[in-house]
């Protein structure tokens, strides 16, 4: 299945990109994807807490992703 990952702030800085597109196995969960993303960042996200949003909503718990989902790993926000 195809997943779009939106990158902001330190995640964008780590990858140098606004967006990643990934092809994942069916049934991949948000926390499995987070592990992949952290590994891919090669340490650059190690000290950064990330909250997950799927299709523009924060998720309180892990879920299984579906084809076409838009995922964001959200570093601490800094509005205001």
């Amino acid at each position: 299945m195809k997943i779009k990952i939106k990158c902001f702030s330190q995640v964008k800085y780590a990858f140098g990109k606004d967006e990643l597109k990934m092809e994942l196995e069916a049934g991949t969960s948000t926390s499995e994807l987070e592990k992949m993303i952290r590994a891919k960042a090669k340490g650059k996200l190690d000290d950064i807490s990330l909250r997950v949003a799927v299709n523009q909503k924060y998720l309180p718990n892990e879920i299984e992703l579906k084809d076409g989902d838009e995922v964001a790993f959200i570093p601490p926000v800094q509005g205001g």
Partner: protein
């Protein structure tokens, strides 16, 4: 009533309104960019948003604030893109019958905004480089 706007460019403040009959307190907060960010001298901040989600979260937060506190109206504009030192990045107006509920609502609204609305700051340093700001400010 709630008005929420996230936009680029300088923030036009909400207009003066002398027509209200039962709102004895108008409280306005303008968050402005300081020349120092975590000890570094900066020339500007650049605000980045998660387009769509930032506005949805801000609207939900405004609704939550109006439910939690006995206030009448909450208007909020958040600027994104480059904001020079001294300029306003956040403009909030709260109308209420009495002062204290407006102060409490303003305080809570901004604390929550800084926890949950997906907007981030990039510091633009004096040498022109651009780095994500390292922690949430207080």
């Amino acid at each position: 009533m709630i008005k929420i706007e996230i936009s680029e460019g300088p923030i036009p403040f909400f207009l003066n309104d002398d027509s209200r009959q039962q709102d004895g307190a108008e409280l306005i907060f303008n968050g402005r960019v300081r020349a120092t960010e975590h000890g570094d001298s900066i020339t500007a901040l650049e605000y980045e948003q998660y387009e769509g989600m930032a506005e949805a979260e801000l609207i939900q937060l405004a609704k939550d604030t109006c439910q939690k506190f006995p206030i009448h109206d909450l208007f909020c504009k958040h600027r994104i893109g480059k904001v020079d030192v001294g300029e306003t990045s956040l403009h909030v107006v709260i109308w209420s019958k009495h002062r204290q509920e407006g102060i409490d609502a303003m305080s809570w609204f901004i604390i929550e905004l800084k926890k949950r609305v997906p907007i981030w700051k990039w510091a633009i340093l004096e040498d022109g480089s651009r780095i994500p700001s390292e922690c949430s400010h207080d």
